[in-house]
């Protein structure tokens, strides 16, 4: 690696057609545009059911310019495993030349990955298929109407964790998918954020150059589900990084590296107050979330071996 990429290095060619029905200001749409730019032209994409799947492939139209396949909600990773095994068999039988390097990319939302697709994902990671799995995490089942998922953070309002006298939104903490992937001893795991696109581009390129199962966890702000004005998508994605709620890092063969260091962290309130799903939180609940974020940052700093995410500055 010579110099870090900048926004000028992103390719101009669009491989994700407009006219799809994703919401105004959708964070996942920004991710899909840049993921399709980063992967080679003949990459085979398998997708789990989710917002992106239902909005981009309304029969008889598709927004994708890559070979693209969808089977069911739970099996995006299993389909990708099969595609990868089929490519191997075709090479062995001489149908496609041995030298042809076709990548396999699998994508799912947080529901299709954290909850419903976890067994397929675990199987794919454990069997060691040469597949890159990207999860775009909008922290609930947004497509069906904002029901909680295993990725919903503490305190968030959803239609199945309502706010009232007894319930105060989600009372459980977010599932740690990265640790689950790392427990399978995979060669590459990373987190990306749509506000940091050169970083996203570089991580996808790097992941594709590594053989074996890889997982990338992407932050994906959701306008209707998180209850904010559409123009704030990138502002929220940036604020998540600046408050330490989201940390951009990668783990390559066990080596941990934070790619977006934050020397002075902002209080978590700055991130929460931008979103309507956290509107009900009291000062005490916010301080509890701050405590969780502090814990996470402490853990990250311990893994990095130095202070990469700084203390909170008020």
């Amino acid at each position: 690696m010579s110099r870090p990429l900048t926004i000028r290095d992103l390719p101009r060619e669009e491989r994700f057609a407009p006219g799809h029905r994703m919401c105004q200001g959708c964070g996942a749409a920004i991710l899909m545009r840049h993921i399709t730019k980063a992967v080679p032209k003949d990459t085979i994409i398998t997708q789990a059911t989710g917002c992106v799947e239902v909005t981009t492939t309304l029969y008889p139209e598709t927004a994708w310019k890559h070979p693209w396949i969808h089977v069911a909600f739970e099996n995006a990773a299993a389909v990708a495993s099969g595609v990868e095994a089929a490519l191997k068999a075709l090479k062995r039988k001489g149908v496609i030349p041995e030298s042809k390097d076709v990548k396999v990319l699998s994508m799912g939302g947080d529901g299709g990955t954290f909850d419903i697709g976890i067994q397929a994902l675990s199987g794919m990671l454990e069997r060691g298929h040469d597949v890159l799995y990207i999860v775009y995490d909008n922290e609930a089942y947004m497509n069906t109407g904002i029901q909680r998922s295993g990725a919903t953070p503490f305190g968030a309002w959803t239609t199945t964790t309502p706010v009232g006298k007894v319930w105060r939104g989600e009372w459980r903490r977010k599932k740690d998918i990265i640790s689950i992937a790392l427990a399978h001893r995979v060669p590459y795991v990373a987190t990306v954020n749509p506000a940091f696109l050169p970083d996203l581009y570089e991580k996808i390129r790097k992941a594709l150059s590594i053989k074996g199962p890889k997982l990338i966890h992407a932050f994906s702000p959701c306008v209707p589900g998180w209850r904010y004005e559409p123009e704030l998508t990138i502002a929220i994605a940036k604020m998540a990084v600046f408050t330490g709620v989201w940390v951009n890092y990668e783990v390559e063969n066990g080596e941990f590296r934070v790619t977006t260091p934050v020397p002075k962290r902002k209080p978590v309130e700055e991130y929460l107050k931008l979103q309507g799903r956290f509107r009900h939180l009291t000062a005490q609940e916010i301080s509890e979330i701050q405590k969780y974020v502090d814990e996470q940052v402490e853990h990250i700093n311990k893994l990095a071996g130095k202070v990469v995410i700084g203390p909170v500055e008020r």
């Binding site: 545009r33 492939t57 008889p60």
Partner: protein, 106 residues
């Protein structure tokens, strides 16, 4: 709808979609209530609006442009109004506020 839909015999096996990127047939401009207008003289060609647009409707064109102050740029950013949904991410993220969201009048 007057045109009858194709029967299952006429569809390809598995109802595979054979045209990549065919959603371009569906124009999403009618979702828009605010229209982004780029002020070409103010724009510093930082590429952020192009990068952050969820639809890819900010076009990066190899069209030279000379500003009123006499600065020459080799590229120009224009909005593809056929697909812009008017979310306003471009205007919000523009570091020099060269994009204005004006109410759509039809």
């Amino acid at each position: 709808m007057s045109k009858s839909l194709p029967s299952w015999r006429e569809l390809p096996i598995g109802a595979v979609i054979l045209q990549p990127g065919s959603t371009v047939r569906y124009k999403t401009h009618e979702w828009r209530t605010l229209r982004p207008v780029i002020n070409q003289d103010k724009c510093i060609r930082c590429r952020l609006c192009w990068a952050y647009c969820p639809e890819g409707t900010i076009l990066e064109l190899d069209k030279p442009y000379t500003t009123k102050a006499g600065k020459v740029y080799n590229i120009t950013y224009e909005v593809n109004y056929d697909y812009c949904k008017g979310c306003g991410v471009c205007a919000y993220e523009c570091p020099v506020k060269a994009i204005e969201m004006v109410p759509e009048v039809r």
